[in-house]
Amino acid sequence: MTGSPAFDLWVYLAASPLLWLTLTIGVFLAAQYLARLSGFHTLVNPVLITIVLIVLVLQLTGTSYNTYFDGAQFIHFILGPATVALAVPLYRSRKLVRASALPILAALAVGAPFAMLSATGIALLLGAAQQIVLALVPKSVTAGIAVGIAGEIGGEPALTAVLVISTGILGAIIVTPLMNALRITDYAARGFAAGLTSHGIGTARAFQVNSVAGTFAGLAMALNGLATAFLAPLIFRTLFGA
């Protein structure tokens, strides 16, 4: 094999950012196509599919995560400006916020710390490793902010990203049957709970059910991102006394 043109080409490409950057975008586009084919079924999540497929490719080709990340870092960098971009939908829904300011603030004040404390509390009770508990703190927050929070409190960003995506998918799957069982027909309240608990994935789901629910979900996602960024360091200090 060594010395053959195909092998030389592979050695060159496998180490170049071009290959991994192109592959990431290409696989994501294919996963989005699959999601569209399924009628945007909650279980066919493009982010999850892309991660699984790329992990498989890295395993099969024996490529290290560091080599992959050299290429993918250009996409990773966009997390920052994409997070700042959340100010735009927040600004667009400012009238809605003012109209139901009190229920929004109350639900945020209770829901944001509850999302963190319930997850970390259960994990601590069941004896999970500290790395797991730390990565669980921002699990209800959109990944752009959650990865930033994980970095601030010493959690592992990769593990956090996976837990965030898992929480989003879980919330999106259970929100509708759960709310129906509770007999809550207020779509503003339902949407707000979906967005606060399961961020962008919950918001996408809320928009499929009802447009008022979707708008309140987007709002809850942005507000919970802000609230958690402020609260997480406090909760972290309380939990680990650091």
Binding site: V47, I51, P81, T83, Y91, R92, I174
Partner: protein, 126 residues
Amino acid sequence: MLFGLFVLLACQLAGEVIARGLGLPIPGPVIGIVLLFALLTIHGRMKQAEKAEQGDVAKAADGLLANLGLVFVPAGVGISQHYQLIFDNGIALIAALVVSTALTLIVTVLVFRAVSRLVTREENPS
């Protein structure tokens, strides 16, 4: 387009400077959200709110947010370095995720409903 991207990056940069400068334990982009929201509010007051909602910055933001899923992939692929940690903590992890997600949905929706009912009762005393 370029101007919109510049404003987003500038807000993030200012957010990083503020966070590091003041030693705040908050991610720079989160402070960037607050800064951009303030800028949009000022812009909307000075001109028309519609211009702030649909201008260059809003278009750049919409473009990024439409493909938000993609930017989580590089960090998510890092899971390949943590198989062992996840297997070792599998039950605690699944229990924490499932129970916390269901309870957070319930608690949030109940608080929202209770307060919004209180508010409407005060507005229309019968």
